[in-house]
């Protein structure tokens, strides 16, 4: 596999403070690859450096140090934008244009003739569920509708690579599902997709690999399952429990009630002893499941560590 996106020690610092003498690092030595044909999720909390990375890749801002290539060309070469579709974070387009006019405007840059543009525009509007809103000016659009226009303009020229900054942002559950389906459709069509998100379930569902970024640094890259580790966190037993008695009350004290059932978490070593105890209490076992760490656990652990570190630095006065 070749790399569709490649960065080497990509760093971005912003001047700030009086006379801009101080420097704030938004991204530090980012080295990563997005392989051709994969869906890569870029995860991180707000201010982690996700959008900074994407803006650097799109040439909206310029790196302080390091370099990046897209489809084998340096990011400064705008000719490769012919093969890239980009959805900015919280997209905002010319609100005096209609949805169809915006798509037509963007399609013009890719050299399509009038008839083909018209066809593509209609196809894209249908794809994102805006076929009836094509003649409405964008100033009358909701945030979710603008997000759909954003996605449509990103794919109107059938690019090889898609860079989507928070594509689910501002969408209702139906809209999120539809965008997810479009991403899956594009993935099946062999497109390479890099998208940033802080919605972890979307990343777990869609991504071949994810990169987790926090505090401007890449903290881990891998398949959503492997990045969090394969080690089991224990076993979860769901059961029904009725009646009363000393044995039953003992089990009830160890379990958590949810709805009509009970839940109990034990280590793998304790599983058989726990099942024996439940049998002794005449409990009906509904399920026994291995507890694996989720992407969310990994994510929260990272963010928690960062916050603890920041607090420690603040307390020590450094």
């Amino acid at each position: 596999m070749t790399a569709a996106i490649e960065t080497q020690n990509l760093t971005k610092q912003y001047p700030h403070g009086f006379l801009h003498l101080k420097r704030k690092t938004s991204l530090e030595n980012l080295t990563m690859q997005v392989e051709d044909g994969e869906v890569f999720g870029f995860l991180g909390p707000n201010g982690a450096g996700k959008s900074t990375t994407i803006k650097l890749l799109m040439g909206i801002i310029f790196p302080t140090a390091g370099s990046a290539q897209i489809l084998g060309k340096p990011v400064s070469d705008v000719s490769m934008h012919q093969d890239i579709g980009y959805l900015p974070e919280q997209p905002y387009f010319y609100d005096y244009l209609t949805a169809a006019e915006v798509l037509d405007y963007f399609a013009r840059f890719h050299g399509f003739r009038a008839a083909e543009r018209k066809e593509r525009v209609q196809k894209m509007l249908r794809k994102v569920g805006l076929e009836t809103a094509g003649k409405i000016q964008l100033r009358k659009f909701s945030k979710g509708m603008l997000q759909r226009v954003g996605l449509a303009q990103a794919i109107v020229h059938d690019p090889k690579l898609l860079i989507l900054d928070e594509p689910m942002s501002g969408l209702d559950p139906v809209g999120r599902r539809e965008v997810r389906d479009i991403i899956l459709e594009l993935k099946n069509a062999g497109k390479t997709i890099l998208f940033s998100t802080h919605i972890l379930s979307d990343a777990e569902t869609l991504c071949d690999r994810v990169g987790v970024i926090a505090g401007g640094q890449l903290r881990g890259v891998g398949a959503p399952g492997s990045i969090v580790g394969v080690k089991s966190l224990g076993m979860e037993i769901i059961f029904e429990l009725t009646g009363s008695g000393a044995q039953i009350e003992k089990v009830r004290a160890k379990a958590t009630k949810f709805g009509a059932n009970y839940r109990m978490s034990v280590s793998e070593a304790e599983l058989y002893a726990a099942l024996e105890e439940l049998r002794g209490a005449s409990a009906t076992i509904i399920s026994v499941t291995q507890i694996k760490p989720t992407l969310e656990d990994f994510f929260m652990e990272l963010v928690g560590k960062d916050r603890a570190q920041a607090a420690a630095v603040e307390v020590s006065g450094q």
Binding site: Y14, K55, M58, G59, I60, I61, F62, V78, S79, M80, H81, Q82, I84, G85, Y86, P88, Q90, P91, Y92, F93, Y94, Y96, L97, Y105, F106, R108, F109, H110, G150, Q153
Partner: protein, 258 residues
């Protein structure tokens, strides 16, 4: 070049939809009112009054559009972040800048042409005829348009590196300074040192010379304007705009967008 034209076309469409051309209604009312008044009170000075008033209005309205819209051409796109999706196309930043400039110049051309037509209509309604000498007003309108092009280029350049308010102030300041270039050039005060005189002399050549475009007096009196001045002003505008836009392109091409 086609990408420049795509941006230019959209900029023109933006101006039309943002009702920039509504100023024509104001201009039409002004011309109608002045035609009525001039028709009643003048004594063979209808042309002078109408041409002076009309050209002043064309210049002032054009200047307001050139400065305020010119400054907003780039800064509004940066502020609203509409630029992000545009620059994701195979479009260089200088092409975007040139497209924006062309689009606004096209808007100003249509606007100025419509106002000029209104002026000639008002003149005809007052005099009930047009003579060959009245055509000088057309040259004056052309010079106003050249002046507006230069103002747009300056406004765009300033908006590439400073806030919209400062860009308006800088453009306005430079325009006013440019009206006094000849005075600056002939400034020879005895108490000035040779170095200071040299400085003002150089400055007078660096500043945009807006005095050259003022032929209102000649137009009002129907005096012919030399071809060499037309050629000089055309080339001067083209060269000055090219330099200013090149500086703007260099600044804009290195700018981090928010």
């Amino acid at each position: 070049m086609s990408r420049v034209l795509i941006v230019a076309r959209n900029t023109f469409r933006e101006a039309v939809r943002d009702r920039v051309l509504y100023n024509l209604v104001f201009f039409a009312l002004l011309m109608i009112a002045s035609a009525v008044i001039v028709g009643q009170v003048s004594m063979d000075i209808e042309t002078i009054v109408m041409v002076s008033l009309g050209l002043s209005a064309i210049s002032l309205i054009g200047l307001l559009i050139a400065v305020f819209t010119g400054v907003g051409l780039v800064s509004k796109e940066i502020d609203k972040r509409t630029l992000h999706a545009v620059l994701a196309r195979p479009l260089r930043r200088w092409e975007f800048l040139l497209g924006k400039f062309t689009g606004l110049v096209l808007t100003l051309t249509v606007n100025t042409a419509a106002m000029a037509a209104g002026l000639f209509l008002a003149m005809w309604s007052v005099k009930h005829s047009l003579v060959r000498g009245d055509a000088v007003a057309l040259v004056a309108v052309y010079f106003i348009l050249l002046k507006l092009m230069l103002v747009v280029a300056l406004a765009m350049m300033f908006s590439c590196f400073t806030s919209p308010l400062l860009a308006i102030l800088f453009t306005g300041g430079l325009y006013v300074a440019g009206l006094f270039v000849a005075q600056l050039r002939s400034l020879q005060l005895t108490q000035m040192s040779a170095h200071t005189q040299k400085f003002f002399s150089i400055l007078s050549y660096l500043l945009p010379n807006f005095e050259n475009y003022d032929v209102m007096g000649a137009a009002a009196h129907g005096r012919a304007i030399s071809r060499s001045l037309v050629l000089h002003n055309t080339l001067y505008t083209a060269l000055y705009c090219a330099i200013v836009l090149s500086v703007a392109a260099v600044i804009f091409s290195r700018k981090d967008l928010k």
